[in-house]
């Protein structure tokens, strides 16, 4: 628990709730998180959009995205509050730090591979462009 985790917290607010109310709701969530020792690294109002299926007989929803850094305790608290709030149609929290680390590692490996054999790296690329079967097998 020593290391900080990064989460993406996305939730859908009832479309009948006014924009400034949504703002207030989002601020309330952020306050809970900071109160629990977490921090907000990004907020994004994705706005009102049509949902792919109805939730609580509503066709639209206002999407709000937060990026949270913390231990995980604040996520539990926020989710508990969201569950009882009927203005929030749905919420989802995803841990992203591990996936991002993995992506960085892949990028790193690719960079090192390219640096090690600049000639063959190019040749390989050409193979990809032609779309031969050897490249698929490797």
């Amino acid at each position: 628990m020593a290391e900080k985790r990064i989460y993406e917290l996305i939730f859908i607010v009832d479309p009948d709730v006014a924009d400034d109310e949504v703002m207030k709701l989002s601020e309330g969530v952020q306050k809970i998180i900071t109160g629990q020792g977490g921090s907000i690294t990004k907020t994004e109002m994705m706005g009102k959009r049509q949902m792919a299926y109805e939730i609580n007989h509503k066709k639209n929803g206002t999407y709000v995205l937060l990026e949270v850094e913390g231990s995980g305790a604040e996520i539990a608290e926020v989710e508990r509050r969201m569950r009882v709030n009927d203005q929030i149609l749905r919420y989802m929290t995803i841990r992203v730090d591990e996936a991002r680390r993995r992506a960085d590692k892949l990028k790193d490996r690719r960079a090192r591979k390219a640096a090690k054999q600049p000639g063959s790296g190019k040749a390989k690329k050409a193979v990809v462009d032609f779309g031969s079967d050897e490249e698929l097998a490797s």
């Binding site: 996305i10 859908i12 994705m46 949902m51 792919a52 299926y53 939730i55 929803g61 999407y63 995205l65 749905r90 989802m92 995803i94 996936a99 991002r100 993995r102 992506a103 960085d104 892949l106 990028k107 690719r110 990809v128 779309g131 079967d133 490249e135 698929l136």
Partner: protein, 94 residues
Amino acid sequence: MSSNYEDRDLGFEQYDRTMPRGPRRMQRRKICRFCIEKVDLIDFKDVKLLQSYVPERGKILPRRISGVCAAHQRMLAEAIKRARNIALLPYAAD
């Protein structure tokens, strides 16, 4: 009985791998688009991208059709399922 099934399996495999009959089956093999673009992470919020791998019915496009490599198909499937959860993509459509 069981040998009967084995025979059939073998026959099918042979047919599938070595006998692309007709001009339609002779298509060039597809290459993973994500590998070419060097994508390391597929975001569930990228609805436009995900939609191209979810045909009308709402099901995830199999990689034998799309040509996506195994690693990227896993990422793609995960992203599509997350998008479904948050109503960005349908679970089923008709």
